[in-house]
Amino acid sequence: MKQRSTFLFSVMAFGLAFLYVPILSMMFFSFNRSRLATVWGGFSTQWYGKLFSNSQVIDAALLSLRIALLSATLATILGTMAGLALARFRRFRGRALLSGLVTAPLIMPEVITGISSLLLFIMMAEWLGWPGQRGFTTITIAHITFSMTYVTVIVQSRLTAMDLSIEEAAMDLGSRPWQVLRDVTLPIISPAILSGWLLAFTISLDDVVITSFTTGPGYTTLPMLIWSKVKLGVTPDINALATVIVVVVAIGVAISAVILTRADKRRERDIQMAIAANK
């Protein structure tokens, strides 16, 4: 029995307003003619023009994308392996340590991860002479390390929920373990792997703190660029950049929601048709 409650409804409305008013306000002022970011001075799209002709912004965005693509892909491979190891191999030496190592980065404050990564790179440079310069490689390594564990959590929970007898059936039909993995397990958990990749990609794209510790001269990612600008105060070109990002994300989320809803509806219809056909 669903009950309507005015109290719940008003809190929901307030919560959504709380979540969206700041974003909408920011988007609104991106069309402000005035240099003063929060005082309305008439409509203008000049800040978008400035944004897209600003090579600093474009370069930073491209660097962020390159790091995010590479680190998300490697993090997905490593994270999936760890998920498989924890969910499918009951017994191996150091299992407890591995399961600790994949949960620890999730609760580790970014400052600590950042500082400890930086210390590692400094020590390695001292002892091994590598990395001589911090930059693309060190940022990517740090991003892989903390985003792979998100992939592991997603993949592991999907594997735990999965019906083991499917894999046993494949083995019973003559597949060797690695063939079962390739033909049965990986295809079934592929949606989980994909969402793990998306999460790793987003986290990498969004990270400031760890990047700021592990970067070197000449490597400024987009969040770091925003960070340095925001420290100086509110400016209309950041409003414009924020608007672009919000719109891109909203479109992406909307598209994936539509695809998911369609898939769900199709599955429901298929099930109903199957039931009807059985009658």
Partner: protein, 304 residues
């Protein structure tokens, strides 16, 4: 696949590869750095590069950093402010997020999906930009600050009226923006928990004579405690170690731990101190988590 490659795979190779690669990676790039931090916290600063050194003689390490950590009011204050800010933000997230999660479960199926999407959407946009959006709202010239100030001035006596409320660079701003940033982390686990609750339990309670609020008090609330704890941890943990929000909207006189670590490491170049504060912060997070795990394991054992 035939030949030696397949044979190798089918023996133990593929298994070792799957376990070994992530293992090696995490030991090298997560565990080892953390060990370095712990070791570093027992060193002393030195005017060299890198700026630290160990004692030349046995026992090589020293505890002076920790001694300072526990006696200096700077660090203790930072710890208290961090716990306070994180706790208040968690509580506010709960007060706002619980009714929201409950409202979502009461909505129709397609509306539920839309509402969840609306709650999660800000999370997928840039974290920095969400903080930035509030900087825009809280400035003294913004429409938001002016509206709040006007509302405030109509309710207080003339003597207390303000030309503009100081929002930026206050602890209030830190808490507000943390609530804003972490609200989805509270709503989602609560929703997952509330959604799973058996609706017939509510009907049974009502059938036995309970009114709506009594049903909530006796049934829904106690059964959603796991969701409250999960959501609380998801907000409290990142809030404790938060660096960006306090440095952008906070007050430099009331630093949170994250900011202290960064300052010790950066401006002061006191790496041992930064490491010691980091270790202390981690302890403050791990202790409640271990307690939680302990009690959950106990409850699980009782359930089976």
């Amino acid at each position: 696949m035939s030949g030696s490659a397949a044979g190798w795979f089918n023996r133990r190779g593929w298994r070792d590869l799957i376990i070994g690669s992530p293992y090696l990676w995490l030991v090298l790039f997560f565990l080892l750095p953390f060990v370095i931090v712990i070791v570093m916290s027992f060193a002393k600063t030195a005017t060299q590069s890198p700026p630290f050194a160990f004692l030349p003689d046995w026992p090589f390490i020293r505890f002076e950093t920790y001694h300072r950590l526990f006696t200096s009011s700077l660090y203790i204050r930072a710890g208290i402010i961090s716990v306070y800010n994180a706790a208040v933000a968690t509580l506010l997230c709960l007060l706002l997020g619980y009714p929201m999660a409950l409202a979502i479960t009461r909505a129709g199926k397609s509306l539920q999906r839309l509402l969840i999407m609306l709650v999660v959407l800000p999370f997928w946009t840039s974290f920095l930009l969400r903080v930035y959006a509030w900087i825009g709202l809280m400035g003294k010239n913004s429409w938001f600050n002016k509206a709040i100030t006007a509302a405030y001035n109509t309710f207080v006596p003339a003597a207390w009226e303000l030309p503009g409320i100081q929002m930026m660079n206050t602890n209030f701003a830190v808490v507000l923006v943390m609530v804003y940033s972490y609200l989805p982390f509270m709503v989602l686990p609560l929703y997952a928990n509330l959604e799973k609750l058996d609706g017939t339990l509510n009907e049974a309670a009502m059938d036995l004579g309970s009114r709506r609020w009594e049903v909530f008090r006796d049934i829904t609330l106690p059964l959603s405690i796991p969701g409250i704890i999960a959501g609380g941890l998801l907000v409290f943990i990142p809030a404790m170690g938060e660096l960006i929000i306090p440095s952008l909207v906070g007050n430099a006189g009331d630093p949170m731990i994250g900011r202290v670590i960064q300052q010790e490491f950066g401006q002061n170049r006191d790496w041992p101190m930064a490491s010691a504060v980091a270790v202390a912060l981690l302890f403050m997070l791990v202790v409640p988590l271990m307690l939680y795990n302990h009690f959950e394991a106990k409850a699980q054992a009782g359930a089976h």
